[in-house]
């Protein structure tokens, strides 16, 4: 148990610079952006005038008159107290907004992951079992097509077919749970293609190994050999991919969320970018980085569950 904790602590130490770096980038993006936040607060409609004195007072109140490194430290300090500031435009607390939106994005990401894992892994296994046969070629063509289609186009097509033509599903919004279906499918499509291809290659890499030959020579069918023997060892690259993908769609499903009007983190970011609401953009970039770090740690733990060699080897050191 102690080794396990040590191992996790070591991983976290490696990821700490990533977290710090992300916060610096998030902060820098805000500072470098065009548009003057003080002006945006004093003059939100673009038709109000203010004096230089008022400007300076507001600038001091927002802490923007201090040197950059002081501003950064203040920002991180507020951050650690759970305060990410307020949106320039809606004047709502960003943390509250995020807290309301994160569960929605998480549900969407989770549902889409279910599709990706089930269809992608199963597709990969079938392709590996039927290598170079018709089924392999057919699914391979589907997979490469799936990963070549831009998400926004899939979204428009799905809305057109399922919501407008056949009227089976709602066009947008998540008023009913069923509203998650189309966005989840859209998100899952390219990753299912990637996942299937990765699973196939990873399994085929294992098939040349001796233990697989032994299993096959015992008289197991090809499917049994693949699923019972090669599969477990082939999982590592697939789990790695799925981990990064999960981190990506938790924070980065912005396009799909925008098109389907899902009030999640991604659509929040898009509207913030479009209105140059840079505190929100900062918070969003930071959140994505944190999700990535958390998912990376989880994936490492999964490795240990999947592969006993990592469990003994690395944790023992």
């Amino acid at each position: 148990m102690w080794m396990l904790i040590q191992y996790i602590l070591k991983k976290m130490a490696l990821l700490a610079p990533v977290l710090v770096g992300t916060s610096v980038i998030a902060f820098a993006l805000g500072v470098m952006s065009p548009g003057d936040p003080v002006d945006q607060v004093l003059n939100p409609n673009g038709n109000e005038s203010y004096t230089q004195e008022e400007y300076d007072r507001m600038s001091a109140r927002m802490g923007l008159d201090k040197p950059l490194h002081v501003q950064y430290i203040n920002w991180v300090g507020n951050l650690l107290q759970g305060d990410l500031g307020r949106s320039f435009f809606t004047n709502k607390s960003i943390v509250d907004q995020m807290a309301r939106r994160i569960p929605i994005s998480a549900r969407l990401a989770g549902l889409s992951m279910v599709f990706t894992v089930v269809l992608g892994v199963e597709g990969g296994v079938i392709m590996a079992v039927w290598k170079d046969r018709f089924l392999d070629h057919l699914l391979g063509a589907c997979a490469v097509t799936a990963l070549s289609v831009p998400g926004f186009w899939t979204a428009i097509m799905l809305i057109w077919l399922f919501a407008e033509k056949w009227k089976l599903l709602p066009t947008s919004g998540i008023a009913s749970g069923i509203g998650y279906l189309l966005p989840a499918v859209t998100l899952a499509l390219p990753s299912t293609g990637v996942c299937a291809r990765l699973t196939r290659t990873a399994i085929l890499d294992e098939i040349g190994r001796q233990y697989v030959t032994v299993a096959a020579s015992k008289g197991l069918s090809r499917r049994q050999t693949v699923v019972c023997h090669a599969f477990g060892n082939a999982l590592i690259p697939v789990v790695t991919y799925l981990g990064t993908h999960m981190a990506g769609i938790l924070g980065g499903a912005s396009i799909v969320e925008t098109i389907f009007a899902v009030p999640g983190i991604g659509s929040y970011a898009i509207s913030a970018v479009q209105s140059k609401d840079y505190y929100v953009v900062q918070a969003y970039v930071l959140f994505s980085g944190m999700v990535y770090v958390a998912v990376t740690i989880l994936v490492d733990l999964l490795y240990m569950a999947v592969n006993p060699r990592i469990r003994r080897g690395e944790a023992g050191q």
């Binding site: 990821l15 610079p17 990533v18 770096g21 992300t22 980038i25 993006l29 805000g30 470098m32 952006s33 065009p34 063509a141 490469v144 097509t145 990963l147 070549s148 289609v149 831009p150 998400g151 926004f152 186009w153 428009i156 097509m157 057109w160 407008e164 390219p190 990753s191 990637v194 291809r197 990765l198 290659t201 890499d205 690259p237 790695t240 991919y241 990064t244 993908h245 981190a247 990506g248 769609i249 924070g251 980065g252 912005s254 396009i255 925008t258 970011a269 898009i270 970018v273 479009q274 140059k276 840079y278 953009v281 969003y284 970039v285 994505s288 980085g289 990535y292 770090v293 990376t296």
Partner: protein, 273 residues
């Protein structure tokens, strides 16, 4: 291994067709892709307008023909810039290790930690719409992938005996690195480059679609799809035609990259998406 399967040949023909059409597009268009004619808005396909017209009466066929130029050029340039920077940084990190490696690897971890679309949207959004901010956004997003792969390959190649041999005869670090180790990476890099271009074609289109990329009225597939969304029910072709072009482009690049990978016998799927 056969040099080229039927699949790869078909992909190359399609890719060649798209590139050719994009290259000579502006010379071959029946109409000016920017000329609006409100009296003939949203027309269906006819002999005059092969694919019909859009909401302000511009000829769809001409626009589709010109719609790939900018985004293809942008995707290829951005990927080449990412490749160049990732390549040099990866070489240095893998060869010198220690402090150099720690700095470069940490940086690449940070950039890989930010999901691609997040970073690109934030950068392009904050720097303002346009070609320059898209270039910066894509390079920031993709250099780390290249650098990571190059570093891994260099770590493997460094163990080879030819490196020891060269050092014995007195070759300097940079000579070994750039003249002897680097050429071995060519095959891998070609494949990774091609897959990345395919991804970046989609990224560029997505950003233009969001209004963060190329500016209207530029005839660009991503922009066109965004413009046509409201009129989609009346004239599905307005969204179907540019969309299919994007799909065909990235699909043919992906299939060609697969062919190249098989040909070089790289076995494993390289690079993360």
């Amino acid at each position: 291994m056969k040099l080229m399967t039927v699949k790869v040949k078909v992909a190359l023909v399609i890719l060649g067709g798209i590139l050719l059409a994009s290259a000579i597009g502006p010379l071959a268009t029946p109409w000016d892709p920017l000329a609006a004619d409100l009296s003939r808005a949203l027309e269906g396909p006819s002999r005059e307008h092969l694919l019909g017209t859009d909401n302000i009466g511009r000829d769809l066929f001409s626009r589709v023909l010109c719609g790939g130029r900018q985004s293809i050029l942008l995707a290829v340039t951005a990927t080449a810039l990412s490749l160049a920077s990732g390549f040099v940084l990866g070489l240095l990190a893998g060869y010198f290790q220690r402090a150099v490696d720690v700095v470069i690897t940490t940086a690449s971890n940070i950039f890989q930690g930010l999901p691609g679309m997040t970073l690109m949207i934030a950068v392009a959004g904050l720097l303002g719409q346009g070609v320059k901010s898209m270039l910066i956004a894509i390079v920031l997003n993709s250099w780390a992938g290249f650098s990571r792969i190059v570093r891994g390959e260099v770590l493997k190649l460094k163990q080879e005996s030819f490196v020891d041999g060269l050092k014995t005869v007195g070759a300097g670090d940079f000579r070994v690195l750039f003249l002897h180790i680097a050429p071995n990476l060519l095959g891998t890099l070609c494949v990774v480059f091609a897959t990345r271009v395919a991804q970046n074609v989609i990224s560029v289109a997505s950003m233009s679609f969001l209004g963060l990329g190329l500016k209207p009225p530029t005839p660009d597939w991503g922009v066109m799809i965004n413009d046509a969304r409201q009129y989609f029910r009346q004239r599905p072709l307005l969204v179907l035609a540019p969309g299919l072009c994007i799909v065909l482009l990235s699909l043919s690049i992906n299939v060609a990259a697969d062919g190249l990978r098989d040909w070089l016998d790289m076995g494993r799927e390289e690079g993360e998406r």
